[in-house]
Symmetry: C2
Subunit: 125 residues, 2 copies
């Protein structure tokens, strides 16, 4: 086995670990409509061992921001803050922080969106 | 009819116009799970005549940004740019601009998301 093949095996061992599969390979390959194997190949082609190893911790550290950004869109907070001016930026930010902490703690995301709508309604009513 | 009642009638006349109903009152009241009448009351309580009148042009001017933000989330561009580093910020931004212009021109948003996934795949493959 040459060095390149060995490297590929090492990389694949990282990518095949449970959390990398569950949080990265499976959801993103599905999203892009390609096989998990092809997505693994793309990652192995572009990322070195060190990047692949740190991938999951990068993912975890960006999760809070991702959830907050998604809440912003799903709750249409832009509307209430920037267009209708019914909520302050601070209130919107507090709401996102409060809900995203719950989601990070395991609370269902879609339920958090529903809770968020009720909280917006309380604010603007 | 006293002044307050007259003012309410004027405000309601604005809110009942076609574009305000189609783009603001109907979708947002549905989103919040309240009646259109209640949402109109909320808007009339918090916004003066001038804000209500300019509401639709504010909405139109913020549409491009809203679409770009939504594309960012729906295409998971954050992933490819910040976590996997498979795309540059510039490429992601070009992609969003290109797709959002089509959507503003009447192209179906969900189709634009599907097109976007294909374009991402071309970039990272």
């Amino acid at each position: 086995m040459d060095n390149e093949e060995k490297m590929k095996l090492y990389k694949l061992r990282i990518l095949r670990s449970f959390k990398w599969q569950r949080d990265i390979v499976i959801p993103l390959s599905k999203e892009l409509g390609i096989s998990q194997e092809e997505f693994e190949d793309i990652l192995m082609k572009h990322l070195d061992m060190s990047s692949l190893s740190s991938l999951h911790s990068t993912y975890e550290s960006t999760m809070p921001e991702m959830i907050m950004n998604k809440l912003d869109i799903d709750l249409k907070l832009f509307w209430y803050v920037d267009i209708l001016e019914l909520m302050s930026k601070e209130d919107a930010s507090d709401l996102k922080v409060q809900l995203s902490l719950k989601v990070l703690d395991g609370y269902d995301y879609n339920q958090a969106v529903e809770d968020g709508k009720k909280l917006i309604l309380e604010k603007i009513r």
